[in-house]
């Protein structure tokens, strides 16, 4: 296997196989509401796949299917060839999801947030865990936050702590849900750089759900566009500059039209 298909462990010199994701005819309904319609795509091991789409198009629901938090109405999701809906898959493949709001444990300090996974899975002794946690914090430039609680952190720091917590899990697959939302442009760029660095240095397969066009264009290996629960386009980032479909073009490069604003078009 090529070295780019091996996930390098950030805490040791060992390597494990990077995993790919295959989504086959995935549909999801919540009662009468159809959220995903026959979505099929595949993410190669070691790739950064960026999924974009308007709010409410089903991006986060798709992400939850990959990590097994939602079960498909029909179709299936395979992670490293294993059914993502099966609880055993989480035991066999190390996946980490960076939630949009961080989902940090508010009652635990930053250090304990990061140490929870290795402690519960008895991956190392307390000294080993300390080393691992401090290394993850160092990678994300967060060494000074170890003793702080999530409520004491800024939005950008919370996102970085969430990434650090995911990193401690030594993931073969990293999933990011809106990693740059609610952040200023510099912090957004920083988060994009972190995602790209994790891919370049540790060859982690990354699946990023975002609205951030800059992130998609700069670090995405391929970009998918999800609209109304359907995957309408999968292409290299370069193709996003001039998409042929006018709806996709308007989504990616919306023009502010003060003479004929969109909200007034909606009213009529």
């Amino acid at each position: 296997m090529e070295s780019c298909h091996q996930t390098r462990n950030p805490f040791s010199d060992t390597e494990t196989a990077a995993v790919g994701v295959t989504i086959e005819h995935l549909s999801k309904n919540f009662g009468a509401l159809v959220v995903l319609k026959d979505v099929s795509l595949s993410v190669e091991p070691g790739e950064i796949f960026v999924l974009m789409g308007p709010s409410g198009s089903g991006k986060s629901v798709l992400l939850k299917h990959i990590v097994g938090l939602e079960l498909p109405t029909s179709g299936q999701v395979l992670v490293g060839g294993l059914d993502a809906a099966a609880p055993e898959t989480r035991a066999r493949i190390r996946m980490a999801l960076v939630f949009q709001a961080g989902a940090l444990f508010n009652s635990l300090s930053v250090y304990d947030n990061l140490a929870l996974y290795p402690r519960e899975h008895r991956i190392a002794n307390e000294a080993g865990i300390r080393e691992k946690v401090m290394r993850a914090l160092q990678i994300l430039s967060l060494e000074n936050t170890a003793a702080k609680f999530p409520s004491e952190l800024s939005g950008g720091m919370r996102k970085r702590v969430a990434i650090a917590r995911a990193l401690v899990q030594e993931p073969q697959l990293m999933l990011y849900d809106e990693p740059t939302s609610e952040l200023d442009p510099v912090m957004s760029a920083t988060i994009s750089e972190i995602i790209a660095t994790l891919k370049d240095e540790y060859h982690v397969t990354s699946f990023v759900v975002t609205h951030d066009r800059d992130l998609a264009l700069n670090i995405g290996g391929r970009v998918g566009i999800l609209m109304g629960g359907q995957l309408v386009m999968v292409a290299k980032p370069a193709a996003l500059h001039n998409p042929e479909d006018p709806i996709i073009a308007d989504f990616l490069n919306p023009k502010i039209d003060l003479k004929n604003p969109r909200f007034k078009q909606l009213e009529t």
């Binding site: 996946m95 980490a96 999801l97 939630f99 989902a103 940090l104 996974y117 519960e120 899990q169």
Partner: protein
């Protein structure tokens, strides 16, 4: 019909949660710090209010009994009445009601906010079962602390009754006589029956509160609604179970 389905669904979810938590029972020794923390929250922090209420309930029982029994010269039996009432019924019942209001509501609020703010989802993605670290230590702690709280409630209630019976003028019963009848008529089985009740009530309250908390969806408003629901359901279950347990243990 809808309500019946909701009730059955609630029972089913609670049973499923209990089975899942029970599967992780062998991991309890590794969770000693979490177990101790829950013992502290359920036992130690509830103790002052249990003591205050038990004292006054024992006192009121003695007062009412003294008022009624004094007229036909049976006031020396106040001790037996307070002893049996506290041990068989009021001690466990009051501790369970306090547990539902004080600890149960806090458990539901904590788990519901963890669910709403995706902390529970984060645990699942880390392959850490929420039942193992959030439910099991609480269930184990309540099993250990409920008998302790119920025994303390009984003792404080008995002493409250003795103090009131001695200090109120129209009763003026000597503590020796009070405790003599209390000892004579309150048997070990009465105390044991009360402890069985307390154990059952406490276990059901914590299970229900965990189950409702972990099924919360939505936002802050739903967290509040879950807390209210958990306390109401717990209180109803305590009283319904009390009837059936009393009947079974008589």
């Amino acid at each position: 019909m809808k309500q019946l389905i909701a009730i059955l669904e609630g029972i089913g979810n609670a049973v499923k949660l209990l089975v899942r938590a029970a599967c992780f029972a062998p991991t309890l020794p590794r969770q000693l710090p979490r177990f101790m923390e829950q013992c502290y929250l359920i036992g130690y922090t509830t103790l002052p209010i249990v003591a205050i209420l038990s004292f006054f309930i024992g006192g009121v029982l003695a007062l009412q009994a003294g008022y009624s029994m004094e007229s036909f010269g049976a006031k020396e039996f106040i001790g037996s009445l307070v002893g049996l009432s506290m041990a068989r019924e009021l001690g466990p019942l009051m501790v369970a009601i306090l547990l539902a209001g004080r600890v149960g509501s806090a458990i539901t609020a904590e788990l519901a906010s963890m669910k709403v703010y995706q902390e529970v989802d984060a645990l699942v993605t880390m392959n850490i079962a929420p039942e193992r670290i959030l439910v099991l230590p609480r269930l184990a702690a309540v099993l250990v602390m409920m008998p302790v709280l119920a025994i303390i409630a009984n003792l404080v209630g008995w002493f409250g009754g003795a103090i009131v019976a001695h200090s109120v003028d129209f009763i003026a019963l000597e503590p020796e006589k009070y405790f003599e009848t209390l000892r004579r008529y309150t048997k070990f089985e009465d105390v044991a029956n009360g402890l069985i009740k307390a154990e059952t009530f406490g276990f059901v309250v914590v299970l229900v509160c965990c189950s409702i908390g972990l099924r919360t969806r939505g936002g802050p408003r739903e967290i509040g609604a879950s807390v209210t629901k958990a306390v109401v359901v717990s209180l109803i279950l305590i009283l319904v179970l009390d009837y059936f347990l009393t009947k079974a243990l008589l």
